[in-house]
Each structure stands twice: as C-alpha cells, then as structure tokens.
C-alpha cells in the first residue's frame, strides 16, 4: 500500500468534487428536451468546434491509454510507440470518411452507426450485427477505465476496503462511490455531462504532460540521459530477418489497423455525431492531433520511469506486484512530483477515466435502444420512452462494467478489450464502405462480418488472448500482422466476392440519397 498523502488526496478530492458538480449542472447547459434521445444521447447535436475538440479528446484518449501506453513502452520499448502513428493515421481517415456519416445521420435523424446501416442497406439483421459488435467491443473498454482509476487510487494510498457501519466490510468502496456518482450524472445529463467535464480533464492532462516533460528530464539529467538508460535494443524495432518481416510489420499493422478501428467504436461515433455540422468534424480532424502529440510525450514517460528506476524502488514494490507495469507512471509521478501536483496528475487520470466511461455507456445505451429495443421489442415506442430506456441502459452498462472489474481478474478485461479491437474492425465494410457504395449486398456484408469475427477471434485465441499480432505466412514470407487488419481484409474480400451473387436476387431499399452524404 502506498503511503496515504493528505495533500495529494485533498487536491484530488477537490478536483473530483468540482467535476461532480459540473456533471449535474451540465443538464442545463445548452438546454434541450432531455426526453428526446438525440438530446440526451447526442447533446442535441449542438456542439461546436471547441466543445467537440475537448469532448473527442477526452473521449478517445482515455485514462487506460495514459496508463497502458507508457506501461508498454516501459516494458517492451519501441513497439509501444505504435500508439503515435496510430493516433496520426486515424485523422486522415476521420477527415475523409466521417463527415459523410455526420451528414447522413443528421439528415435522417440517425443516432448510431447501426441506424445508418439499417437505412442504407434496408437490413435489420446487418444493423443488429453492427450494434451488437459495438456493445460487445465497448463493455470491456469501460471496465478498463475502472482499472485506470483503481491504479491511481492505490497510488494515493486510499484504503480500498472500508468498514461501513451496518453493512460490514465493503471492498473497493472508493471505486464504487466514484462510479455511482458518474452513473447518476450521466443518467441525469446525458452527453452534456462528459462534454463539460472533458474540458477540465483535458486541461489537467495538458498541465500534467507539460510539467512531466519539463520537471522529469531536469531531475534525471536531460533526454539523452533518459534514452541512454534504456537498453539500446529496445529503442528501435528489431530489424527484419530473411523470410520474416518481424517487429516492424507488427508495429505498422497495429498502427494502421487501430487507426481504422478508432472511429468505428460507438463512443467515437457518439462524440462525432454530437457535432453541430460537418465542418466541425473536419476542423477536429485537423486539430485533434494535438492530443496525439501529448500521447507521444506520455508514451515517453515509460522510458522516464525506466531511467528513474521506479521498478527497483522498494516503495513501489507492492504497486508493481498488484498492477504490473501499469504502475510505472503512477510510481514515476509519486517519485518526482510534489504532493499537490501528484493530486493534480492523478485527478487528470481518474477524471480521464470518467469522461470516456460516460460516453461509452451512452453509446451502448443508444445502440441498445435504437437497434435492439425499438427495432425488435417496442417498434412503436414514443420518443420519451426511447430516451428513458437509454438512460436506464446506461446505468445497467456501467454497473455491468463495475461488476466485471470487481469480480473477475483484470486480465479478462484486458484480453477482451484486445479482442474488442479485432471485432469492431469487422464493422468497417458495412459502415465505412457503406458511406460510399450501396452496391455491396447486406447479406454479403453480413457473411463477411461473420467470417471476419470468426477468423479474427481464432487468430487471437491461437495466441491465448495475450497478443493480437498473428504471424501470416505469405508465399513463404512470415508477416506478423495485427489480427484486426488481416481479418478485416478477409471480410472485405468476402463481401465483394459474394455481393454480385446476392445482387442477382434483389435487395432491400436504400433510404438515403447521394446528396445526404454531403449535406
């Protein structure tokens, strides 16, 4: 157990209190009728460039990212830096493809990507596949946000097991309290809550990163000393051997596959559709890389942690034993920052968990309500009931994630999130190609999706769910490739190969017209 530090805890608690108040007050911000799903679940599609920038930044660069990316760099070195080309290449894709999604959803009142697929291909089954994939891929992601929070709470020395009079010993009480508060204001305010809180979160993150890249190198004797402290074999990727493309291939396929997957995630779509017009989406593709730069610097914290020798410091032995390399960054902050700034930095990470967790649960709620509840259970439900169902589902989703983290080993959540990236990529043809063409037949897309999910899961399963880099054998050449990407290519091939066959037997109607994508 880390030492309880009253100053750090006081700063942390004060910031947490501020965002809690903001979360509830947010319901009155840019006031709308919260009994409408697009008001609760998309903030009334009224967020301008700035708010969307904070919202998406807060949404995509999660607490878990800030803990796990430097942890990977700390443990494995250069390969962990794939997060940077990933967080770069996602933006040209966002810029080109997703303004079309914004336009068509705005024209037709769609709230989810699955709504669009339903309208475009006239197939409830394909829409259901897209919706379920989104929900399944997002759930473990929410659980991992809790892991991020757990790490900083332990770093603050906050007692996790608390004796409650009348109930007895409650395990992980602070985590439960934080999540209940989050669940309540999300229920109350919808997407407006994380949008408002994201501003605080992002400012705290930037302040922490700025302090870290100035204070820590000064303490450790400069950047050359930091890089010199790292085993030089870990500073670059292993060069390719004859007949094997090796680590470089793993690195770039991870980056490219993740870049394609990013905006297929429901929480990313929800953040995008909250924008007030398509130019906001484009401007954000230009401006969001600022966060990628911060992410690159945060990744380097992994090397700083190596240079600072946190893993051999007896004060952090217990933290590393409990959280593994995920404890590297908290340990580094505890070692180099004064107490009050530890409070700020840890609050940045904890609040960084709340924002994406809120948006992810809203996104799952939107998917369930639109593409399962209204589609199959209650087709004539009035808008007010639709919004109410979504609010309740957002609670269910969050408590599901909480149960997941508290009752199951953390490795499950990590492995499922790894698999989540592979399966969400299989919605690419229906969603992204669907924005350009309706030539693909929904049944061919469905079979492609199923083949992609099966192949991707089989590849990851063959690696015992520990890695998602599966080595392909292409004409005798060993090519390590991110399973999400290879499965997605297979998926696309199947969809294109089968479409001409199915197209001969006719198809559903397309509710959209070409100009809807440019409006």
């Amino acid at each position: 157990m880390a030492k309880f530090d009253p100053v750090a805890v006081a700063v942390f608690a004060a910031l947490f209190l501020i965002v809690t108040v903001m979360g509830f007050v947010a319901s009155r911000w840019r006031k709308g009728d919260l009994t409408q799903l697009h008001e609760w679940g998309l903030g009334g599609r009224r967020f301008g460039s700035w708010v969307t920038w904070f919202l998406l930044g807060g949404d995509l660069y999660t607490a878990y990212t800030f803990v796990a990316v430097p942890a990977l760099v700390f443990g494995a070195g250069a390969v962990g830096f794939f997060a940077v080309p990933y967080a770069i290449l996602a933006y040209p894709i966002l810029f080109v493809v997703f303004p079309r999604l914004w336009s068509v959803t705005h024209r037709h009142g769609y709230v989810t990507a699955a709504d669009f697929v339903r309208g475009r291909f006239g197939s409830g089954t394909l829409a259901l596949a897209v919706a379920l994939t989104g929900i399944v891929a997002t759930m473990p992601y929410i659980a991992l946000q809790l892991v991020g929070m757990e790490v900083v709470l332990a770093g603050l020395g906050i007692q996790s097991d608390v004796m409650v009079p009348g109930i007895g010993m409650v395990h992980d009480l602070p985590l439960i309290v934080a999540f209940v508060i989050l669940a309540l204001y999300t229920y109350n305010s919808g997407l407006r809550a994380p949008a408002m809180i994201a501003v605080v979160k992002d400012l705290l993150i930037y302040a922490t990163v700025l302090a870290a890249i100035i204070v820590i190198p000064a303490e450790l004797g400069g950047y050359d000393k930091i890089f010199a402290a790292v085993d030089s074999a870990k500073l670059t990727l292993a060069p390719s051997a004859p007949g094997n493309l090796g680590a470089q291939s793993a690195f770039i396929t991870l980056a490219l596959g993740s870049a394609f997957a990013l905006f297929l995630y429901p929480h990313a779509v929800t953040g995008l559709l909250g924008a007030s017009n398509r130019r906001v989406v484009q401007r954000n593709a230009v401006a969001l890389p600022a966060y990628s730069f911060a992410l690159g610097l945060i990744a380097l914290l992994g090397f700083m942690a190596v240079a600072a020798g946190v893993s051999t410091n007896p004060a952090y032995t217990e933290g590393f034993a409990r959280f593994g390399n995920n404890y590297a960054v908290p340990a580094l902050f505890l070692q180099v920052f004064p107490s009050w700034f530890v409070g700020i930095a840890f609050a940045a990470i904890a609040i960084g968990a709340l924002v994406p967790a809120a948006i992810m649960s809203i996104a799952c709620a939107n998917l369930f309500t639109r593409n399962i509840y209204r589609e199959y259970l209650d087709p004539n439900c009035p808008p007010a009931r639709e919004s109410q169902v979504a609010k309740i589902v957002s609670l269910v989703v969050k408590f599901g994630a909480l149960f997941f983290v508290l009752e199951l080993p953390t490795t499950y959540a990590i492995q499922l999130q790894l698999l989540g990236g592979v399966i969400i990529s299989q919605t690419m043809p229906a969603v992204m190609l669907g924005l350009y063409t309706r030539w693909l037949h929904p049944r061919a897309l469905f079979i492609g999706w199923a083949v992609g999910i099966l192949a991707g899961t089989a590849m990851v399963a063959s690696l015992d769910f520990k890695s998602s880099t599966y080595v392909l054998d292409i004409l005798g050449m060993k090519v390590p490739c991110y399973a999400a990407l290879s499965a997605m290519l297979l998926n696309v091939v199947v969809a294109y190969a089968l479409s001409p066959v199915f197209n001969r037997f006719g198809r559903g109607t397309d509710a959209t017209s070409p100009e809807d994508y440019l409006a």
């Binding site: 250069a78 830096f81 940077v84 080309p85 967080a87 770069i88 290449l89 933006y91 040209p92 810029f95 080109v96 303004p99 400069g222 950047y223 050359d224 000393k225 930091i226 890089f227 030089s232 500073l235 670059t236 990727l237 060069p239 390719s240 470089q248 291939s249 690195f251 770039i252 980056a255 490219l256 398509r278 130019r279 484009q282 401007r283 593709a285 230009v286 401006a287 890389p289 600022a290 990628s292 730069f293 690159g296 610097l297 380097l300 100009e515 440019l518 409006a519």
Partner: protein, 66 residues
Amino acid sequence: MDNRSAKGLRLTDLFIAVPFLFLLPVPFYNTLEPAIGGFPFFYWYQLLWVPLTSLCLWVVYRGRKG
C-alpha cells in the same frame, strides 16, 4: 453549401495521402541516428509527423473551402 461544390478531386486533396507515405515505410525511420536534443530519430521523426499531419489536413480543408 461549402463542400457540395467540391465534388471533383482537387490537387490539394492529395495531401491526405502524405502522412501514410511517410509513416508506413517503417524501416526508413527505425534508426537511432540522427538524434536531436537527445531524442533518437525513431522518436522525433514520429512526433514531428503529428503537427505535419495537422498541416496536411489543413491544406486539404482550405483547398475544399475555396
């Protein structure tokens, strides 16, 4: 309004491909030298491509606006 006039491909649209051209060939930047300010090439090169990508997208954005 704005984008509807820009249906055809413009010259500035080509900038969208630039980040891919410079980041996909990993062996090109998978080296320690030349280092700058203590940062090995592998790291500063990729960090440099963050603002350069913003710049490329901005060029495309401006090109479509006109």
